[in-house]
Amino acid sequence: MDLNTLWFLLIAVLFIGFFFLEGFDYGVGILLPFLGKDDNQRRQIINSIGPVWDANEVWLLTAGGAMFAAFPNWYATMFSGFYLALVLMLLALIIRGVAFEFRSKDKHPTWRATWDWCIFVGSLVPALLWGVAMGNLVRGVPIDADMHYVGGFWNLLNPYALLGGLATLTLFTFHGATFLTLKLSGDLLAKSRAFAKRLWLPSVVAIFLFVISGYWATDMFTRLGVNPGVAPVFAGIALLAAGYFIYRDRSGWTFILSGLTIVLSTITLFMGLYPRVMVSSFNDAWSLTIYNASSSPYTLTVMSWIALIFVPIVLGYTIWSYWVFRKRIHSHTELEY
């Protein structure tokens, strides 16, 4: 395996971690107005991700940094090409992050309601946009011979990519609900279970439609072949199995399976991309690949050593922090947010 492939894998891993972790954060934010019927309940919901949401978002920042370092042309083409979409995403992430910190620091109902709305919108928009972005990456976008995106904003909102957005939106919301069944208690636990049950079928339908339309919109099917391999098959099985367990109130298994669906689906999308990183809809020769978009071998080597040393350390203290906050939240828990 060459370094270019290694870095493609590493970036895939960062996106997998990001979608898995921030996936439930977004889900929790989207469910906030539907689940929390009074202020204390809403605070319990927010505090369920309180200690971790910020670090979960760092997976995205690291993925962005890694794209910049390992594949500067990918970073440059995608970030400038998807300009307005990213502006929307940034606005969402800004209001959401500030809202977590600010909302409970003043008791005025309007103040809190405003920030709760920011958490909701700030979670909904990226949950949707990430699916749109991934859909466009595999579908292909207008990229010219000089690696410049020439499609404008509306080009990104094609039916296939929008289905992708719907798929991530429903899946992340479902994942968020299953996360809450592990973190909450009492009335809220029952409610989050009920929501998880209601959300399962819509995610199955959205993902099914996204996969099927991929047959026409992308070259995924021809690339992966009749036997697509373990990841896509088990992504489907995990999603269906999650439905089995949620109806038997097995929260732990359901969360593992909704997470596994996210992990395996992300792997599938990256498999469909490889060795390209952005597909040109004009001419396949103009696609950005792990070779024509990459940094020099020297830089990739340096970065590989750094990743090798520090990724295990990061994983270590991340797991420790989840261990510290493993307990469920009750209505009488002292709430920081």
């Binding site: 202020d39 809403r42 910020d54 760092v58 370092a69 440059a76 940094s295 922090s321 906050f325 002292e334």
Partner: protein, 463 residues
């Protein structure tokens, strides 16, 4: 208005805004870690109340730094795609390392600190704040390693139409980093010190309850500030001496020095005619600039006209003069704010030694206003550093005009510029509202009070 100008304006606004929150995070995180360590060592509850009080203000400020930082990381690719392609091989690495080493550390451990008061032992809890402080300051180091490459490119080779890294170690040992990072680091210390000094003075004047906290905070942060301001000024001097060699044009612009002089005089006040490159009115101190540059009363300091001619020979025809008035005045504002801070802090130390500071009413009244000074110095210092490098985005390698994204239209940048500016304005309002509210509220003396926020409020139900 063209896309380039708008993109530059957006970068300037978002960067200055981001850096409005960063120095306080840098300095206050260390201060909190020290205070909490004292609490763990001595068991003195006063220090716990101090940590809790300043910690709350720290969190409000930290949140703003984090969210505005996301914009910074994305913006290179969004608005400066040609820059990203040209230097990504070098510039991307420190950014990725910053995220991996620093962002994970500070965010994970801040979560542990904030939510871990009852879940971690006292020692481990203090340890988490040290990790936050280390994470925040390592983050500053890596982003300055990246910025230093723009100021003084090292460790690269021009190949395949771009700058490629050929010596990672050279990036880390870039002399510019070690001139710049300590300056930023100690400006963070100074900012945090003034923030705490000003707020404590306010409470001492008002005779707020929990007097011990305000006296301790006041004395502690005044000493903290003394260390900060002395070292920030010394390091600033080192930086300027480095600039004479590395970016003489920036120095010449900062001094409005049109023609080379030996010995060079320093401008105390210049009203200049930028177009014709001459002074309209100026007060200048003979030989002082040479003394500052070389520690002796002689020595040539190159002027703008000579450097322009020199750069034309090296880089071809073009205008290599940065906006002189902006560079000159921001430099003076930074240095001026620093000097006033030095005087205030020395006075404060004097009054602390004489133990009569609570009686110096005029001084205590002045201090809350002086919180603005480090902010002025921080912002103008960065503006000077970046504007003074123009027309280059990477000194000597790429011009700003060649760096902008061709895929992004003028309308798109205009849209994002307006919306970011509006949102940032609103958030600034909310941030200041909260900071003021909690700064004035003072410490919480007892455990959860009956009307603490944990009790569900019925008003929220129908919303």
């Amino acid at each position: 208005m063209d896309a380039l100008l708008l993109a530059r304006l957006q970068f300037a606004i978002t960067t200055v805004y981001h850096f409005f929150f960063v120095p306080l995070t840098l300095g206050l995180s260390i201060m909190l870690a020290i205070m909490e360590t004292i609490y763990v060592r001595t068991g003195d509850e006063k220090y716990k109340r101090m940590v809790k009080f300043w910690g709350k203000l720290f969190l409000i400020n930290f949140a703003m730094g984090v969210v505005t930082g996301i914009v910074q990381e994305f913006q290179f690719g969004m608005n400066w795609s040609e820059y990203s392609r040209f230097v990504g091989d070098i510039f991307g690495a420190p950014l990725a390392i910053e995220a991996l080493l620093a962002f994970f550390l500070e965010s994970t451990f801040l979560g542990l600190w904030l939510f871990g008061w009852d879940k971690l032992s006292k020692r481990v809890h203090a340890f988490t704040m040290w990790m936050v402080a280390i994470g925040a300051n390592i983050s500053a180091l890596w982003i300055l390693i990246a910025n230093s490459f723009m100021q003084e490119p090292v460790g690269y080779v021009l190949r395949n139409g771009r700058a490629e890294m050929n010596d990672f170690f050279a990036l880390l040992t870039n002399p510019h980093v070690w001139a710049q990072f300590p300056h930023v680091f100690f400006s963070g210390i100074t900012t945090a010190a003034m923030f705490v000094v000003g707020t404590s003075a306010f409470h001492l004047l008002r005779k707020s309850p929990d007097k011990a906290v305000w006296h301790s905070s006041f004395r502690f942060s005044m000493i903290y500030g003394l260390i900060g301001i002395v070292l920030v000024i010394m390091q600033g001097h080192t930086q300027a001496q480095h600039m004479v060699k590395n970016q003489p044009m920036k120095l010449a612009a900062a001094e409005a020095l049109w023609d080379s002089e030996d010995p060079a005089a320093m401008s105390l006040f210049t009203w200049g005619d930028e177009k014709n490159r001459r002074d309209v009115f100026a007060i200048r101190m003979p030989a002082l600039l040479s003394i500052l540059a070389y520690n002796r009363p002689s020595g040539m300091v190159k002027g703008i006209n000579d450097l322009q001619a020199e750069y034309e020979r090296t880089y071809g025809p073009g205008d290599y003069v940065p906006p002189v008035a902006i560079t000159y005045w921001t430099f003076r504002m930074m240095v001026g704010a620093g000097m006033v801070l030095l005087v205030l802090i020395l006075l404060g130390i004097l009054y602390i030694i004489k133990e009569n500071y609570p009686k110096k009413i005029w001084f205590m009244k002045l201090l809350p206003w002086a919180i603005a000074l480090p902010y002025i110095a921080n912002s103008t210092g960065w503006i000077m550093a970046e504007v003074g490098r123009q027309p280059w985005i990477v000194f000597g390698l790429q011009k700003t005009v060649d760096a902008v994204s061709p895929a992004v239209s003028t309308g798109e940048v205009l849209f994002s510029l307006i919306i970011f500016t509006l949102l940032y304005g609103i958030l600034m309002g909310a941030d200041i509202y909260l900071l003021k509210k909690f700064a004035i509220a003072g410490t919480v003396l007892d455990k959860p009070q009956p009307d603490s926020e944990t009790i569900p409020d019925g008003l929220g139900v129908e919303l």
